[in-house]
Amino acid sequence: EGLIEFYDSFKDMFEFFCKNTTIHGTIRLVCSDSNRMKTAFWTLLLLASFGMLYWQFALMFSQYWAYPVVLTMSMHSEPKMFPAITICNLDPYRFELVSEHLVQLDRMAEESITFLYGVNTSASLFHMNEKNIRIKDLSSIGNLSTSSFKLSQNFSLLRMFDRNNGSGRRHSSVGFRLCNATGGNCFYKTYSSGMDAILEWYRFHYMNIMSQLPVIINISDHEEQIEDMVYSCQYDGEPCRPSDYVHFHHPVFGSCYTFNSKGTDSFWTATKPGIPYGLSLILRAEQKDHIPLLSTVAGVKVMIHNHNQTPFLEHEGFDIRPGIATTIGIQQDEVNRLGGNYGKCTTNGNDVNVKLLYNNSYTLQACLHSCFQHIMVRKCGCGYYYYPLPPGAEYCDYNKQPAWGHCFYQLYNRLRNHHLNCFDQCPKPCRESLYKVSAGTAKWPSTKSQDWVRQALRHQNGYNSTSNRKDIAKVTIFYKQLNYQSVNESPLLSENLLLSSMGSQWSLWFGSSVLSVVEMFELLIDTLVLSLLFCYQRFRSKKT
């Protein structure tokens, strides 16, 4: 027997095929003897079953290629880590380098209020707090001389009257004017309330002043310590350790501390649900009012977030009132998306076009901010102060880029109206943890206990208030239950099931299998080879 033996003739081949094929039904058409009725009948049957089969296949594949997902919810109860907690004292530093300008700005704000409302209410408001934060390495940044900066008078607050509405009453709004570089295309940034306008106006100037500061401020070694803010810290009944927190300074929320930011230390494992096993903090919640007009809220901002995530306090922060014990119960929810064909999501942000400016793990918020900052640098030539800078760029300053405000507010509006494609460029993360928060409050310290509590704090923690003002707060953050709900996407039609149902359809209508198709394939190849062989033979015989 040879390696491959070929048939003597086409007839031999077809005979062999008809005898040995495993395809049901249809083969009668070719292989059965010629009865016209029978042939016609079998042809019809074949066509009908073919039609049915491919119709079903089409339905099946169209469903599969739509990549439908089902949501499955499951409860998990394995032990896990306590989330990262960030607390901020809402009191940004008044850096010495820019303090002169801040004083000027406060004076300007005072004038504006007097101009707008006619009353000199601000005398007590702007009593200057003389404590300035000194940056240690002044020599290295000495070239940034303070004199080069000048507060711009171009953006003064104005009152505008809107007479267009039919009610007859005059509605006034307060705002300030922003123009582009050539002084054209001006628009007013207006607010119905003067308070909002003043805060926004102040913030705008504040950003310009702060842009004078070097990008990397080494605040770790100046006098502000965690003891000034956190009087007591306990987790699961044990005191927190020095390695458990990370300090950073936020231009609006002031000094912030993140506990358990890495989430790797076994100290922070959540063992039991309940208040006694959570993180309990006694905080100083009094405002030192370094910069009074930046924020009008007193208290402490708390945010519960995932490990290795940049906390965006402006989005998800939780305010703690002074004089109150707040117990925050958290419950975790997890969302797992399939990604790939089943929907756009990213596992670690590596496949996202936007270069992240935050060196933490990917979040949608971080991507949006980075995207905006990149566009800002490209369009306006400078970076927005509250977001990190891409390499080579510098923060906006109206002495250098007089029109940046105009550019920024327009960009921001476009972002809000989804005209910038940041929302398209930033996919959701494939794996998301959400913390559901609910809080209860009680008065703290109670009248009966406040004397000794204050005394103990005063003595041991450098708490230096003698009055009974509400200036301390207690926060307890705990897991309400350790089991968490996870919502998972899973494919409705897996490949496995698709093949199964294809097989069912195939068997049902056609009675053949993949191997039968291979048989057909073999027949096809044989036909080709045979015809080639015969052609060759004829060619040779002609030649001879």
Partner: protein
């Protein structure tokens, strides 16, 4: 004449014509199978012309088998998956039980007898460490010095001031410096210690039998240290007081509840059930279902929920035990135990707290879908709480049992197992050290509680949304306080203060019940039809052909092998016999095999089957039994030659 035994075998053979396999040898059997089976691929192995072709077909068939096995295994592995359905029903919802406690467990004024010693000690500690003295005029001297509840024990476990961890500590009583000796295990130093005076306050617990074994407890703030230390002694004192007395000492329903309003109707203390919590004193449960009826609200919204005004007597608070003022509430099912100390929500005084609820019921599938328990009956931990099973209950019960086993007494915050009593250092001087050690073990999961206790399969959850408003408003304050004090004034002559009152509203936000239930995603029918699909897709196989495979490849092959062995054995036996008798062996006997071998053929009379058995064709591709395919072309042509109506198409 046949022996009677042989006769019977002959008869059995005749009536039950059990035939051997279809072929005498293994290779013949395989060939026979491949030609006759319905399964695709096999026939090609045999009929294909050329070795390469044959090899490719063997490869294809085997890979098809492999694919079938792989896919079916995957189907089987995914069999126990559950799909989740969420249904939202609008219906009349039963109102949950609402348990309300004052944050302060017992009236401080009535606790004086029990706590005066401890308070004196605490004040002394405060004075020593912080130079703090509570209002000079009010230094009360307790008269009954004789009733020393536990002075010795305060000495034994004193508050200490540690100076920079130099292993010396200042005793609060004597002011003497003590040297800390022995092996001390303590937590890392805290981040929050004061800037200038680097001293830390804490206490140490020592093993009574072996004083060199000590656990040192330090705290980041003096506030925590004093509270913890106070609580430690407080629990020892409270453990000695019988339950009835404790209930007397705590708040009555009249003390706590000023007004009550439910579903638009007035209610009173009869709707509340007293529940004594070891740490929170008397708590009152609204709608506990104890008298058999469970109330429900007619509609959602704050008007139709529970509205109560609570009287929080701040002046009667224990200053060291609790530092916050207000009430604690918990919303739970009537069958659930309220774990107030763990997950209670706090309520502020001088404020109206409205709590909106959203009801969710969940059900999980138990084994084999997930590891949960329906009733808790299958868990080897005794439920101490007399309420329906939950993970929390199981963990607490498990710990309490371990505590009784190893320390000899029960922890104060959890219910008593039968025959045990609460720990106090009069009877069990060593219990605190034992407890802290045990708790450490528990947290490290060395007690095995976390492994034994499982989740409950079904649970109810009320998601709460809290909002707070100032209450009473400045304009309504005057008349409201007057009316409320008049109401209360019938019992006590005291002017109410708005900081002593708390207004609480608990209501359903809507009457939608969200029911999350897991259902098996696969049934047996679906699994089988998926199996069928896979078998059909790759090889056009079915259950029958699986049986065929089992028959041919296992039973028949085994039979052939057995027969071969039997023949060998028989031959060996015959040879031996022949050697003994001296006869030369017949050469032809050895060579012949299979059908031609007379040994192989049954020795009895020819039956219908044996008579009909044809000798196996040597190179005839036509199988003996009609094949299941439609390949009888040659036979058909033989017939059609005799049929005149088909002659015209015939090419022969």
């Amino acid at each position: 004449a046949m022996a009677p035994g042989k006769k019977i075998t002959a008869r059995i053979k005749r009536t039950l014509p059990v035939k051997g396999p279809q072929a005498p040898t293994l290779s013949e059997l395989m060939r026979w199978y491949c030609l006759n089976t319905n399964t695709h691929g096999c026939r090609r192995i045999v009929v294909s012309r050329g070795r390469l072709r044959r090899f490719i077909w063997i490869l294809l068939t085997l890979s098809a088998v492999g694919l079938i096995l792989w896919q079916c295994a995957e189907l089987l592995m995914n069999y126990y998956s559950a799909s989740v359905s969420v249904t939202v029903q609008f219906q009349k919802l039963p109102f949950p039980a609402v348990t309300i406690c004052n944050i302060n467990p017992y009236k401080y004024s009535s606790m004086k007898d029990y706590l005066s010693e401890l308070d004196k000690e605490t004040k002394k500690a405060l004075e020593t460490f912080y130079g703090f003295s509570e209002g000079k005029s009010k230094v009360r001297r307790s008269v009954d010095e004789g009733n020393s509840t536990g002075t010795d024990f305060f000495k034994q476990i004193p508050l200490l001031k540690f100076e920079d961890f130099s292993k010396t500590a200042t005793d609060l009583r004597s002011g003497q410096k003590r040297k800390i000796e022995g092996s001390v295990f303590h937590k890392d130093s805290s981040i929050v210690n004061s800037g200038d005076s680097n001293d830390i306050i804490g206490f140490q617990l020592c093993d009574a039998n072996n004083s060199s074994e000590c656990a040192l407890y330090t705290f980041s703030s003096g506030v925590n240290a004093i509270q913890e230390w106070y609580k430690l002694h407080y629990m020892n004192i409270m453990a000695q007081i019988p339950l009835e007395t404790k209930e007397e000492l705590s708040y009555s329903a009249d003390d706590l509840l000023l007004t009550c309003f439910f579903d638009g109707l007035s209610c009173d203390k009869r709707h509340f059930t007293r529940f004594h919590h070891p740490l929170h004193g008397n708590c009152y449960t609204f709608n506990s279902g104890e008298n058999g009826t469970i109330l429900s609200t007619s509609t959602g919204g704050s008007e139709y929920g529970l509205q109560v005004v609570l009287y929080i007597d701040e002046a009667d608070y224990n200053p060291f035990l609790v530092t916050s003022t207000g009430a604690k509430i918990i919303v739970h099912d009537q069958n659930e135990y309220p774990f107030i100390e763990d997950i209670g929500t706090e309520i502020e005084t001088a404020a109206a707290t409205s709590i909106g609820m959203h009801f969710t019921r969940s059900r999980k599938l138990s084994k084999p879908y997930s590891d949960c328990t329906e009733t808790g009956a299958d868990i080897p931990v005794e439920n101490l709480y007399n309420k329906s099973y939950s993970l929390q209950i199981c963990l607490h019960s498990c710990f309490q049992k371990a505590m009784v086993d190893s320390c000899g007494c029960a922890q104060y915050a959890q219910p008593l197992p039968a025959g045990a009593e609460y720990c106090n250092y009069k009877k069990n001087p060593n219990w605190m050290y034992c407890y802290y050690r045990l708790h450490e073990k528990f947290v490290k999961e060395q007690l095995g509680c976390q492994q034994i206790c499982k989740d409950a399969c079904s649970f109810k959850e009320w998601a709460l949304t809290t909002s707070i408003a100032q209450w009473p408003s400045t304009v309504s304050e005057d008349w409201m306080l007057r009316v409320l004090s008049w109401d209360k004034g019938q019992k006590i002559n005291k002017k109410l203060n708005k900081t002593d009152l708390a207004n609480l509203m608990v209501f359903y936000k809507d009457l939608n019940e969200r029911f999350i239930s897991e259902n098996p995603a696969n049934t047996l029918v679906i699994l089988l039809s998926n199996f069928g699909g896979q078998l059909g897709l790759w090889m056009s196989c079915s259950v029958v052909c699986v049986i065929e495979i089992i028959e041919v490849f296992f039973i028949d092959s085994l039979f052939i092998v057995m027969r071969r062995q039997w023949q060998k054995a028989k031959k060996w036996w015959n040879d031996r016999k022949r050697d003994q008798s001296g006869k030369p062996p017949e050469a032809s006997d050895l060579e012949r095999q299979g059908h031609d071998n007379p040994i192989c053929i049954d020795e009895d009379l020819p039956t219908f089957n044996t008579a009909l058995r044809l000798p196996l064709p040597q190179d005839n591709p036509l199988p003996r039994t009609p094949p299941p395919n439609y390949s009888t072309l040659r036979l058909e042509t033989a017939f059609t030659e005799q049929l005149p109506d088909t002659l015209e198409v015939e090419q022969h």
